[in-house]
Symmetry: C2
Subunit: 303 residues, 2 copies
């Protein structure tokens, strides 16, 4: 079995940043990058990650990051981690469909799966009007007609956040009842955001999104549609290791520790603001603090 | 008085990342960048910030970041914030030697002052063998003879961290007694790290550091010297606003909130791992969560 000091599960921004710190500290580092597409790969313009004033595509940033980790000796393989098992000697074994790897410490950075509601043409317009994050993309829709797709708190929050950019906002519950807590419901009512409960038949447009067609045939013009139906996290690893989970997020402390010896987590899978900048910072913290735990120095407070 | 929505105090990586998010959310944003040199400006090779596989200088990253925030409409002025005062209408007034600015929310990202012990030629070799961070620069001194300058826990921790890179480590207390807690003292003894208590006369070298000369005239060959004499933080703002301070760090919660309404802090001034990646992530979080508080939505938990 191949032996490593640190295995990072996930090759997105959190995983690459963690792997970079681990490799740079001379730890034998393996990054397991699920061959399926991550959320960042589809981002056409990332311009809120400091250092790229003209923006960069998600794919480009991932390629730069991969070159960077490999420069310091990390190994990246496109295999999906399917199980983490504690070994008798205190180490961990990570299994993939291709084989098993042994390591001393683990950083979970799997990201989150984005639930995609079944709406015709939704994938077609992803990055061309369809977005999953108001904080990321709201800026591109200033003064434009936009919609939010969802019926729960998260959708209401995204709709309210859009008020920073435009007042022409419609919340589409797509045939569902609005299930929003009282405080948010009140804010929604006061905001003037229209709520449409009718089901969506399909998204319309040529190159980019131009509108939605409702079941009744009615067409609503839209330049942007923010999908906010919540996330279903890949928290299976957490459960098998006895790590606490809240909703779809792995619970970590401020050091990114899961509380399980030498197992840390970083990035979107730990909840919070789902931003590249945040993921990169958390990945760095996870690796630094894991390395410190590997040295056995963890419980010394230096500050 | 010029009015802003958000004022960011500090133009380092945390402040620029915060300003970027604030400006991109259409908030009128002012960044006060102290005209004196920040820690990052002197970094010759930054290669652990994801996205720059060939490394970048600290100065270059700061210039890119500045272009980026200005692209989204943030205003950067080179003035030092000297006081923050709550106004009667719930807003804040930030004073500089040049004037006063009013704002609704504040992000403190002042970094920390690095205490420089008075050792001859220390500044001359900064970035040329003299470093302030093992996590950042230890990699460049693999298998080399290195020293750590300091006599407290932080110095002991830096020396122990160097074991990831080399075994030829000397801890110079520069005439002081070793004041290290028991657990660390034991680790130090077991590690084989030599402790030299004699005062340092001067640092030696031509272009780069080559060694130190002790008071007795003895010369010790060194390729690197890590200064670890602790930090004295700029926590005066915190104290005037009633924000909790621990050591030299401003205390924040996981949202980067100080607990004082609409006052957040990010980066080195909040303690933790002093890394560009961490600062950029914390700056993003501070801005996102402050913007959310400005909208009055703070106490709604969306996860």
């Amino acid at each position: 079995m191949e032996e490593y000091d640190i295995i990072v599960i996930g090759g997105g921004p959190a995983g690459l940043s963690a792997g970079l710190y681990a490799a740079r500290a001379n730890k034998r580092t393996l990054i397991l990058d699920k061959p399926e597409e991550g959320a960042l790969k589809k981002v056409e313009v990332l311009d809120n990650y400091l250092g790229f004033p003209d923006g960069i595509t998600g794919k480009e940033l991932l390629e730069l990051g991969r070159r960077q980790v490999e420069r310091f000796g990390a190994k990246v393989v496109e295999e999906e981690a399917i199980a983490i098992k504690p070994a008798e000697d205190g180490r961990y074994v990570v299994e993939t469909p291709e084989g098993s790897y042994s390591c001393e410490g683990i950083i979970i950075a799997t990201g989150v799966k984005r639930e995609r509601p079944r709406v015709k043409n939704l994938e077609k317009f992803e990055g061309r009007g369809v977005s999953f994050c108001v904080t990321c993309d709201g800026f591109f829709f200033r003064e434009a007609k936009v919609g939010v797709l969802g019926n729960r708190d998260y959708a209401a929050k995204e709709a309210l956040e859009l008020l920073n950019y435009t007042s022409k906002i419609t919340l589409f519950t797509n045939g569902k009842e609005l299930e929003v807590r009282e405080a948010l419901r009140k804010k929604l009512e006061e905001s003037g955001i229209e709520v449409v409960k009718e089901e969506i038949e399909e998204l319309l447009g040529e190159e980019t999104l131009e509108g939605v067609k409702l079941r009744s045939g009615e067409v609503r013009e839209l330049k942007g549609l923010f999908v906010a139906v919540g996330t279903s996290g890949a928290t299976d690893f957490a459960r098998t290791l006895g790590i606490a989970v809240e909703g779809s997020a792995i619970v970590v402390d401020k050091n990114q520790s899961t509380g399980v010896p030498r197992v840390y987590a970083a990035g979107d899978c730990t909840g919070g603001n789902r931003q590249v900048a945040v993921a990169v910072g958390e990945g760095a913290n996870a690796a630094i603090n894991l390395i410190s735990e590997l040295k056995g120095a963890k419980h010394v407070d230096y500050h």
